[in-house]
Symmetry: C2
């Protein structure tokens, strides 16, 4: 197809409008499908199993809906309610029906689309803003413009597929009454929604851009790519999630939304849950641009960040392919979502034809009904897939990669996978949590220590219309809800979004060069004034432990004395603690604000001496033990989530909290073991006890901390942790008690005989 | 082989002893394996896949242990501890090594057994009672004689397998130093253990009987079959679980233990968890008796109760084959346990060669290494298996079937199974719970309403040595821990074992003749003086509901006024309640005794008028709603298990409790729906709301209760429940508001247009 430069296109556009000329008639579909690709796919029908299955699935689904007839209700409900769900269903079906029309050439699909579009075109001009007033940017079909944008992204594709089927008169009618006002409403009519750096805006940009490409209307394409020139957005305005609408001077539009929130490694600053959500418009519009504006070389943009983003997403998952629930994220969302099917297919086809992506697609069990999906299905048919192996990796955050990041360490023992996720990135826009240096830890798909994720039941109407719950702010975003340090019972940055948005944590080093000794070290100097937090985490495979162990060293230096709380949100049934503790007969919340009001204090201990404190629990048929090098005066608190939760919105999970009062410069040290197993069928408990007898720090200075682990066979292991900048080639030497130790790398393990 | 009548055998035994004659030399093995069966199995090695696999598994396991060498430690530990686990491992391996010796004729197994037996024979005469003093019947190798009996049941088989391999001198040494003193200790030496009606005694009887058969020592065989003639047991003595040791005049021994606790339907009065445990000795000794005393016709005893017991057990399981946790029962125990492999193989071979048992065996994926297992494996190889279909059924309790029972109603919707288990049986000996008319309800393997089961972590040493926890008495056995009525915050029978043991509930009717309208009705008149409890439960498949619904009508008639609490222990995340309730800022226990001290009161409502109260929750990706016809003044309490639990021994599950105060004759009515689904991947919530708008009782008299269900489409359904004796052929007529209704059967469903 012909590519115009912007200025020429605009002129052409003006001419077309003036004279009603359709310069591109007979060139549809041209958006995701093309005439050539449709011909190719049609010629191969019945020959490529996964494609045929996906086509058959779509046919079954759409045929059933067609039988029900056209339902286009006057908008009324919140998410989860009838009108919301119906309009959502409509756009999904419309998109699929379009593809089915092209691939089967069965006219019933075109008829259905036409009737549906006319129903919308009849209603749309009559619609005021949606009656639900909760959004900072209300839609017309839905309570928020975001969902309207979703609608248009899908329906543009549908319209493209029947463009040639429709008469010119029909097209003019539809564009005048439905598509143009729709696109104008989402752009000019909703600048606070459209002209931002935000996943909402990405959807908005793409919606407007896609319909612009179909209609060959350059105004909308320009809006989409480059944003509105004038928006009159108040620089202090915030959205419903408390995020700023716009930072002064910020570029907007699709290209800016691609440049800004993605790091050079493909990490999207909001976190994988929202990255997944944004991937569909990003990838789909990229295909549309590749088909219509190859000059943009969109897949090469920012060193191919779109394709890198797909790999980042696939790596930000646990054993079962579920995304790590960083920031606001609903657990369970996974590589099996439709967005990831899209992302993987496109990354294969428009990327390097990486055969390891085929094994992901094969797991997904379905493909997109387009060129990319077809190519994937065909390659799978030809048995080209190779394993997709998730490795330890560090993903930078920030558009230039300098806003901290996410470190993932992975170790294997037999068929068991252990994954550590350390979060040292930036705030992550309005969906970010106040949890610098927090972590989660997995054994296969099971959380040893969980990140709580969001406090929301997405699309469950009874729970606040499926929207965010107030406990998302009062609990899920607070620091104490995470596996990191809270100082003086106050969240990082005093829970202030503006402050939090200014800073990111800093990587000191990441070293996964030796799979048996992987370490990451990161620091945070802004969460609390005058206090530096530094976390060093090592995933070690040692001979005297059944499984890889996790060493967690949290170093704190401050100019004044504070109370520090370090929680570990374990999951499962408590088995035993090796220290004395008390349990109250009446439960009270642990505090009054910053999330503490949501924790019941269910047990408590004050330690009378320095000691090795241990808690063992059982989950997923395996025992786990956390061992802490506790100090005299330390408190250990058993907590349970759920206080001040009048609607029972929270999950009542447990935590163990290590508390140290009146501390200035101090260190928390723990080791987490996974050991043994329990079967209720054989009733056999194997290796139910920790292997650690004593844990202590035997040396600490600015650059090194030496940990001594005495196991139950009285074998002693020293672990030399480096807490300042180091690489796998760095040489160190340290003298302890006249004995000199020399080593190269980030870590030394020394077994004493 | 030759069968002697008792008197002759006894004489023969005396002669043999006097002259040291081994009349049966060269006739071993004769216990579970026989010379003939070994020859047959050996001839088929390599030809029967499941048998070969089971043999290979045993070989792998035993070979690995043989490499480690003989470990026979001085007894010291409780369950879960080293010496306990080692002796347990030893007897398991010895039994398998014996079979391997016979089937492979590899002498290394015989050598291993010989060395191990000699190690035991050297130690045994030196052993005092086990140092742990917690059992009413201490063992020598283990803390309780029960485990010693386990040991001998397995080791007898091992000895039998190497009997001919050993020299006469070796045998005399082993029998004198190990087997005879061992058998004497378990019988004459432990009458309080041996001479009871109890699963402990069954193990004791069988242990002594099996070694008696191997040694051809009629004294022990007679002890085993008929018990000790003199035992001097104090008639008031109780065991550790609070059960009476012995009821005056009661017969004892294996035959009495077969007659008494099994009902004619094969239900074992302690419940399926302990039935499973007892099945191994019951079935194994039955085979040994069949091989040695065919005149006893043991498999025909009491109309074939042993085989019936296997069917009862298989039916007392959920979708995944896990036993319903009635009475003391650890959840997760299932048809995959080794005891059930034994039971199923033997029931096939010594029963009617029922091919449906083969499909169970195929699921189990392994067979016993004996005639029965071989026959099963061979039949599976020949593809003879047919599906094992679990149907609705009623199992009587009590040796003559008159002590109440267990009713199971099962309904299917597509591939989904719904199972209701109503418990209206007798106390169930010392492992019984005080929960007359309690129930549990399953959707496939998932509990919609759970039975808590026991409070114990079997074999987890840190939890009270793996033994029963004190919360088993203070919580798990109490009435309020179950889905049934508690009157005046006092458990049934005032939590008195002696009183509870005198009574059973009574079946009024059980009708599963129409799979869409299944009903059970049962009453309990002794749990509280002067009060009659009656429960009518119907599992109905109705057109206006997505899945089968459960109607639960609890009718109470009393001579005085009381408070009634009816809890439902649902599992999952609360989604919504349709009534106003308050949540406390500080949690207090719901009461002070009878289990109430273990419930946190987390929410509370007092209803101001008669109303339809609903609670919806989400579990296993499906929504559930309980709808109650509540009355003005009723309280609804949200509770959570876990108060007064200083060792965190309890699971912190929720309950909704319907409370009615100052009631005399009254009825509780609820309906439970399973509806819709939620997927965190598509984030789609389907049918998330109950279909019920209003629920009420529109007629109630002594014989009938008519329930009116108004659905959300304003369609009204009347359900006529019969609460007095009825059958599927009974004719009824009832006039309400001058309108006459006539029907036949136990239930009428009338849809009003």
């Amino acid at each position: 197809m012909i590519v115009f430069k912007n200025i020429i296109t605009t002129s052409a556009f003006v001419l077309c409008c003036l004279f009603g000329i359709q310069t591109k008639a007979q060139n549809h579909p041209n958006l995701i499908l093309t005439k050539a690709s449709v011909a190719e796919m049609r010629s191969q029908l019945g020959k490529v199993a996964l494609f045929d299955k996906s086509l058959a699935d779509a046919k079954t689904e759409v045929d059933a809906v067609i039988l029900i007839g056209i339902i286009v209700p006057i908008p009324k409900d919140m998410a989860g309610g009838f009108t919301h769900e119906q309009h959502k269903k409509n756009y999904t079906i419309l998109q699929k029906a379009g593809v089915l029309y092209q691939l089967t050439q069965d006219e019933k699909y075109a008829v259905y689309i036409k009737n549906m579009l006319f129903a919308y075109a009849k209603m749309y001009p009559t619609l005021p803003l949606h009656p639900q007033e909760r959004s900072y940017a209300r839609g017309k079909l839905f309570w928020q413009a975001l969902n309207d944008a979703n609608w248009l992204v899908y329906v543009s594709q549908s319209y493209d597929c029947v463009y040639d089927y429709l008469s010119k008169k029909d097209r003019i009618y539809l564009e005048k009454n439905l598509f143009k006002p729709f696109a104008s409403f989402l752009s000019e009519g909703s600048p606070q929604f459209f002209n931002r750096i935000h996943n909402h805006s990405t959807w908005g940009n793409v919606a407007v851009g896609m319909i612009g490409l179909v209609m060959n209307d350059e105004k909308y394409v320009d809006y989409a790519l480059n944003g509105l020139k004038i928006d009159n957005i108040n620089p202090n305005a915030k959205d419903n999630d408390g995020g700023f609408i716009k930072v002064a001077g910020q570029k907007t539009g699709f290209l800016a939304n691609l440049d800004d929130p993605f790091s050079p490694d493909g990490y999207y600053t909001e976190g994988p849950y929202y990255q997944r959500y944004a991937m569909y418009p990003f990838m789909t519009f990229a295909v549309a641009l590749q088909n219509n504006r190859p000059d943009l070389e969109i897949f090469d943009h920012k060193n191919g960040v779109l394709i890198k983003a797909v790999y980042a997403l696939l790596n930000l998952t646990n054993f079962n392919g579920e995304f790590f629930p960083l920031n606001d994220a609903q657990k369970g969302m996974s590589i099996y979502s439709k967005e990831l099917v899209t992302a993987v297919d496109i990354a294969y086809y428009f990327g390097n034809k990486d055969t390891s992506l085929l094994s992901v697609a094969a797991k997904q069990g379905r493909v997109q009904l387009d060129d990319a999906g077809f190519a994937v299905a065909k390659a799978i048919q030809e048995k080209k897939q190779t394993p997709f192996i998730k490795k330890s990796l560090n993903l930078s955050d920030g558009s230039d990669g300098t806003q901290g990041g996410i470190g993932i360490l992975r170790a294997q023992k037999g068929s068991d996978d252990f994954s550590l996720v350390l979060k040292y990135c930036s705030q992550g826009l309005s969906h970010g949590h106040y949890d610098k240096l927090s972590f989660s830890f997995y054994n296969n798909e099971n959380e040893i220590y969980q990140d709580y994720g969001l406090a929301r039941f997405v699309n469950i109407d009874q729970k606040n219309g499926g929207g965010y719950l107030k406990e998302n702010n009062s609990w899920a975003k607070q620091t104490i809800a995470h596996n990191t340090i809270t100082q003086d019972e106050t969240s990082h940055f005093d829970n202030d979004f503006e402050t939090g948005s200014k800073f990111a944590s800093e990587l000191i080093y990441f070293d996964s060069s030796n799979p048996k000794q992987q370490v990451i070290c990161s620091k945070e100097t802004n969460a609390y004034p005058d206090t530096e937090l530094k976390r060093t985490m090592a995933l070690l495979t040692l001979e005297n432990f059944e499984n890889p162990i996790l060493i967690d060293l949290f170093s704190i230096t401050s100019k004044s004395t504070h109370q520090y709380d370090l929680p570990y949100y374990y999951l499962g049934q408590m088995i035993d603690a090796n220290f004395k503790y008390e349990t109250p007969t009446v439960l009270e919340p642990l505090g009054t604000k910053f999330g503490y009001q949501h924790l019941w204090k269910v047990g408590h201990s004050t330690l009378e001496k320095n000691e090795t404190t241990q808690l063992t629990w059982l989950s997923n048929s395996k025992f786990k033990t956390i061992t802490a090098a506790s100090k005299s005066g330390d408190e250990v608190i058993f907590a349970k989530i759920g206080a001040n939760d009048p609607k029972f919105n929270l999950r009542n999970n447990p935590a163990i909290i290590f508390r140290r009062k009146n501390a200035k410069d101090t260190r928390f040290l723990t080791i987490t073991e996974t050991h043994g197993s329990y079967s209720p069928v054989t009733e056999s408990a194997k290796n139910a006890f920790s292997s650690i007898k004593e844990l202590k720090i035997i040396h600490e200075d600015e650059n090194y901390v030496v940990v001594s682990i005495l196991d139950k066979k009285d074998k002693s292991t020293l672990v030399f942790l480096t807490t300042s900048k180091a690489e796998s080639t760095t040489k160190h030497n340290l003298t302890i008690d006249t004995k000199e130790y020399e080593w190269t790398g980030t870590l030394l393990i020394k077994t004493l005989e």
